[in-house]
């Protein structure tokens, strides 16, 4: 089955979403990610969505859910690389992703997480 790779960098986990999300894939990602946070004792999650042209309400909710789950496991989530068009669409849809931190790119996101965990 198709899975979204999760890379570990120190105590951070990096998830790059490059394919269209569907229910099965999203559930698998939530499952994998929560397991990895516990196993790797991660304290930060970076979700890179720079490859996504379209983010609909489904993906928006999934990202919010992942952030909430990670928070329960004491890890901070940062969404990075959102495109301008995607940001405008999300705002117009009323999905402002409350509780999710954002950064312009992976580098900034990583700096944000590291400064918090120091």
């Amino acid at each position: 089955m198709e899975r979204i790779p999760i890379l570990r960098m120190g105590r951070l986990l990096l998830v790059t979403i490059q394919v269209d999300m569907h229910d099965q894939l999203a559930l698998a990602l939530q499952d994998d990610l929560t397991n990895r946070i516990v196993r790797d004792r991660a304290n930060g999650v970076l979700i890179d969505i720079s490859a996504l042209d379209v983010v609909d309400s489904f993906i928006g909710r999934m990202i919010s859910n992942i952030a909430a789950m990670a928070r329960v496991l004491d890890a901070r989530t940062v969404v990075v690389g959102m495109r301008p068009a995607v940001a405008i669409t999300l705002v117009e849809l009323g999905l402002e992703l409350p509780g999710v931190r954002t950064a312009l790119n992976v580098e900034r996101g990583m700096a944000l997480l590291q400064s918090e965990n120091e």
Binding site: M82, V86, A87, I88, V91, L104
Partner: protein, 285 residues
Amino acid sequence: MAQTDSQGLAKILIEQEQQLVAEWMANLMSTSSSAAGDVRLADQCTHLLRSLRQAVLTGQTRNIQGGEWAEVRQLLTEICYTRARQGATPRETAIFVFALKQALFSRLRESVADPALLAAQTLLVSNVLDELGLFTIEVYQKGREEVIARQQQEMLELSTPVVQLWDDILALPLIGTLDSARTQVVMESLLQKIVETGASIAIVDITGVPTVDTLVAQHLLKTVAAARLMGADCIISGIRPQIAQTIVHLGVDLEDVVTKATLADAFAVALRKSGAAITRAATAR
């Protein structure tokens, strides 16, 4: 009957073209100031008269929207567009056509002896020229609307500059009311600039926004939310005392947004956030 009327009219248009143009122009000179300055007036009159003749000869005088009148309409459209762009009033534009009426009436009176025929032809001329006069008004209106649409577009582009104040600080000075179309443009240019410059702080300055109602506030909050999704913090500055009062009275929630009274304050906060500081040089006086 209508056929013979238009034949008779066409005959006058052919035979007395010179006199008609002269009289028409004389009428125009005396009534309209803008027409008097146009060097191509004689040319325009002659052309229009000739194409009018062609159209009248076809006998289709009831409806000027038909194919027979295409040339007349095109000529009139060109003339009206030029006039409208030169700032002529609709009245002056329409008078261009109506002045021909006087000229034609007097020609008719001289050349047609039979009272019944004269009445019929007068009616015909009157109908045709009224239609053409209305047509000029329509064209004039259209020309003006195009001017307005172009100006709106230009204003939209002019009024949304995104300025880079520091390495990672952008400023967005908003001037004029924020409607949804402008918000869209503002948002797009701000987000685009964030991507280009990698800025992490954006200052939205609303000093130039005359009033803030719930709709404008909502648009502002949308812009802030979109910038946040791109990883940039927003500061709203330039809030005047009256606007602060209105915001509170309207119950708009700006709790989650950093707000400052002046752009200078906002800039100071932005600098501190990005770890930079401005100090006065020791040597400067």
